[in-house]
Assembly symmetry: D2
Amino acid sequence: MGSTFGNALKISIFGESHGAGIGVVLDGFPAGVTYDEAFVLREMERRAPGRNKQSTARREADTPRILSGIYNGKTTGTPICAVIENTNTRSQDYQALLAQPRPGHADYTGQVRYHGFNDPRGGGHFSGRLTAPLVFAGALCKLYLKTRGVTVGAHIQSIAQIQDTAFDDVAVSAQELDALRLQEYPVINPRARDAMLSAIEDARMDCDSVGGVIECAAVGLPAGLGSPMFGSVESKLSAMLFSVPAVKGVEFGVGFGFAEYRGSHANDPMYLDESGTVRTETNNNGGVLGGISSGMPIVFRTVIKPTPSIAKRQNTLNVQTGQVEPLEIHGRHDPCIVTRAAPVIEAAAAVALTDLYLEGYGYAD
Amino acid sequence: MGSTFGNALKISIFGESHGAGIGVVLDGFPAGVTYDEAFVLREMERRAPGRNKQSTARREADTPRILSGIYNGKTTGTPICAVIENTNTRSQDYQALLAQPRPGHADYTGQVRYHGFNDPRGGGHFSGRLTAPLVFAGALCKLYLKTRGVTVGAHIQSIAQIQDTAFDDVAVSAQELDALRLQEYPVINPRARDAMLSAIEDARMDCDSVGGVIECAAVGLPAGLGSPMFGSVESKLSAMLFSVPAVKGVEFGVGFGFAEYRGSHANDPMYLDESGTVRTETNNNGGVLGGISSGMPIVFRTVIKPTPSIAKRQNTLNVQTGQVEPLEIHGRHDPCIVTRAAPVIEAAAAVALTDLYLEGYGYAD
Amino acid sequence: MGSTFGNALKISIFGESHGAGIGVVLDGFPAGVTYDEAFVLREMERRAPGRNKQSTARREADTPRILSGIYNGKTTGTPICAVIENTNTRSQDYQALLAQPRPGHADYTGQVRYHGFNDPRGGGHFSGRLTAPLVFAGALCKLYLKTRGVTVGAHIQSIAQIQDTAFDDVAVSAQELDALRLQEYPVINPRARDAMLSAIEDARMDCDSVGGVIECAAVGLPAGLGSPMFGSVESKLSAMLFSVPAVKGVEFGVGFGFAEYRGSHANDPMYLDESGTVRTETNNNGGVLGGISSGMPIVFRTVIKPTPSIAKRQNTLNVQTGQVEPLEIHGRHDPCIVTRAAPVIEAAAAVALTDLYLEGYGYAD
Amino acid sequence: MGSTFGNALKISIFGESHGAGIGVVLDGFPAGVTYDEAFVLREMERRAPGRNKQSTARREADTPRILSGIYNGKTTGTPICAVIENTNTRSQDYQALLAQPRPGHADYTGQVRYHGFNDPRGGGHFSGRLTAPLVFAGALCKLYLKTRGVTVGAHIQSIAQIQDTAFDDVAVSAQELDALRLQEYPVINPRARDAMLSAIEDARMDCDSVGGVIECAAVGLPAGLGSPMFGSVESKLSAMLFSVPAVKGVEFGVGFGFAEYRGSHANDPMYLDESGTVRTETNNNGGVLGGISSGMPIVFRTVIKPTPSIAKRQNTLNVQTGQVEPLEIHGRHDPCIVTRAAPVIEAAAAVALTDLYLEGYGYAD
């Protein structure tokens, strides 16, 4: 009913930014997957705040405590629960926030949705902090997918108007995706990184924020997964991706670029490679045809809107006075969350692809 | 497992392009909605093929026969089933198609997914013809939503490189949306229409095809519907929209444009209008904040890729010979399906919004 | 939201007793299963009314017309839709029925549920006639399960106070189940049949009706299907079985008999048979332990309440006058539906077990 | 996929008997419900082990720690997570258990289901201990239902062959149900209790165990909830009830007794009470007609099989030797779990009814 996703694998995320803790339950995760704790912690660390000046000063250990589902170093097949304690909460006054819902945030819509009872502190359940358990779930799914030959990875495609080189959508490899994961700022073209950081710094100096695009790929997914219509690979992935706070657009392959393509350029002609596998010369469709995986890399992009919490003065409604009044948001906020978004988008994709994979192959074999 | 969608309202679509018939079951549709047959048939007609030279020469009456769920002119609340007979099927040889799967189509992925048993004729269940029952379902949902003050409408935002004027995302009205529905080519700027038709004709003369973008809006949806994370309005809408064949991208509000926005411009400042309703001065977030409706118009765009069936020669794999060989696709195909896509996208949105609405308000009251 | 069931296989049943038609959509049914039409029609015939004096005089051909999902004699893997036209409807006056809801029927609860808009004629969507599409779906599922070595069958365990011999729950075989299917009245002990028919005739002469119990078994299901807690084999089967009109109880293995067992008798001791398979000496648990199939026959019983439509005078509320008034229900009604219930219960079980099987083994292999 | 249930309210239960902790996430629980901690702890205490000699000697504080979803003493509407630490685990050798799966337990089926990777200690995720988080979830649901005028309660209908007086299924009241909750052994007839305890003591002295029946009622549920077919009140309740370990049968109203009823006795005649509400003189259908609530008390019974863990010697398979060998199960086990089952069955019912209620009434009003 909101925070539960999936079919063959179900994940349920809970917690509020300044409550006792946050976490996730994974139900249906396959048995017998080796729990690589170092890998999982590294994934958590990639997303964690407070690592540099692009990100919020809030610093959380973000160490997941596993309550169930892992035994003798392997997954048991029964539900996995991981909890992350909230240690660095602040008891500041949130009355102001109730009076003046932050523009671009869920403060107002959350109050309507929950009849005024939801926890407003730090955004409560709407906080970007809730992506930490998603990254944990995604890290486990990556471990499972790896056993099946599937690798998921992402890079920062753009921040502000600075573009990184795009993936080579027919040739992107597991090695390339794994290497990106080790970068503090995952980009293909190192010069793009410097320009991006500079654009972020400009925004920060202006008490403002910037958005960007994450490009993500999954390689090794066999052909024939997914279903026509509502069970399409794109439907499942997009439903998951739009659940990540700040994502406002998702496109597969050429995506919105198709609007200016002709069919003769858009179509991906097939051939047989030396190993006897059907492949396409181009991959404009991003590895999905008719909702079903083609065996080519799955490639998609998601746009991340600029952080709505900005120190710059905004004029917006005070719901208690009924007047438009100035608002300056202070506290610990990222001038750009795109730099931390790649592991979140990867995690979201890994969870959705694991569900897709398990629907196709079942738990019994 | 593919062709079934929804929660409070479930729809199940069935049929193959050249089988006996196609249709839809709506389970959970509210009781007591007046069945406006003229409206429903008009919606079907908007999507139907064969009306002009932009669309395929296949001509189907596309008249839905209602088997259940409507009694004394009103919906009963129990499942509604509508069937559309396939009258204009052709018994041509599909062996060629099995040998040489069409690029950009689901021919190959469908064969893998269904182990070679799916009906290949005319694309089978993957055919764009399956959007006819979706439009029927959407027409019913529009009738329901109208009783709740919600109106859904769309226009052609672009075809090839020709842009229509965009919706005014704060002021778009039910009247405007209803008026667009009456146009053969729903555009806001009539000059854009002429340029679009000209671009389509160019493509047709080249034995090629073009894509485009549909912009859709829903007005009147109350604030507070949807849920954080996986139950977001965007998640539900996108899961449905990506099930429409040829849709490869979905964006809400400013969408991918956010990548180049700063937070100070992206945020939508709130105010109280004269009726005491909270509104925003801009609507960059497309009526959704934190996954929950804000009460502002829901505005989104979907990209439609160019029709993959083109008469122009393509070189692609013959799976029987293992060789790349030339392919020319003859038969009845649209050089541009964007002109017929607006009612389909509207229908998809209306179904998803009805499900969202019923989750919020239930069936009991 | 009522008439849709399942996960890996979804079925959606539609129709009203006196509407245009009834039918079912199966979404997710495996590709490549041979459609044995003679078998399916025989299953439909087993349930069909009007075959003898124990059953209603309404006579319907009940021939399913297949609209989609079967091609070249095999299932395509895409949705299967079958429609049964309602040919023998009567345009009698249902005003009386609206005034005086029949006790034991859904007339009153249906009116509340659907705010008075549901089709009241012949019970509408609540009619036992809606088990015809369920039997169609079940027949297809039996064909699939047969390819996997699973056989489902049932017998009349009791009618009124007459008991048939129970299944030998460790030794019941596919042969025995298939043989029962050929009997007009599926019983193990032929003398029980005569006594049952006599009890039914007594009730009929009294303008009354009788209930009974169906015992059902599934053999050949591998161990390891199902899940602990909410995904238990019993949960899935019972959710389906309680959807059959008139079913008011479901028990597995010894069932309610366990209340008087001691643990030392209830436990099923394990051993290894000559083929190296783990089996149990007794099967008190009905083939399910901890919610998961044990590899032993699945055995369960469902109670069918007496037909509520009786010619005998009853005093019940007239909702228009507010008074309790006499009611005599005339028309075509079975004095006992248990004789026709075995194929329905089998069908329900076959659908649920197919869903269970497909969750375990997936569609991809 | 096993441990997740529900639609408008989803609960996800996790944990293993001897792991770090167990718990539950409730997603979709209504906002604004006052958290009555004393009530919740009392409910937990009713189920907790180690309170008397009928129950296992394992003693756990079973105090739920709430990580999210409750703020300022009220539910927030966003997911509630409660964790119960496992403090009293024992590091005994479970190798014996792997060699000789306990008859009547999930040891063998769990090993097959999870390919040998599930945690075998104390039954792991299959342990009856996992009913503790279910009782927590049920306690919250009772608090919600109370705000809507719905009360759920249960009594021990039988243990061994000792019967308690049954509920008066037309007159059972909230007061009576609330009073039963305060009893250590909830029975209507105090003399039944003494005989039950004596029967349990007999079994315990024999190193054996006994089963029984719980009768449960819900009063105050409005008419018109639930749906025909797969969405029936019985389907939803039974799917939940069969997820409780040891439940092997569920019946509504007269249940299996219907097999010997005639229609004229089975039907519940309607009348209008002084307040203008439609009621029935009898309630043989247990408050459900056609799958939909009638407004009369919901009444059902579940059978609980005897505890399979018994000290008495059993001969069963040693899977390592392939031989049948004697087994005596020592450790902390209840000779009868029926005495602790009433709060569990109530909790299961409260969760299912809350989901049913929320489907009917939604979250928006």
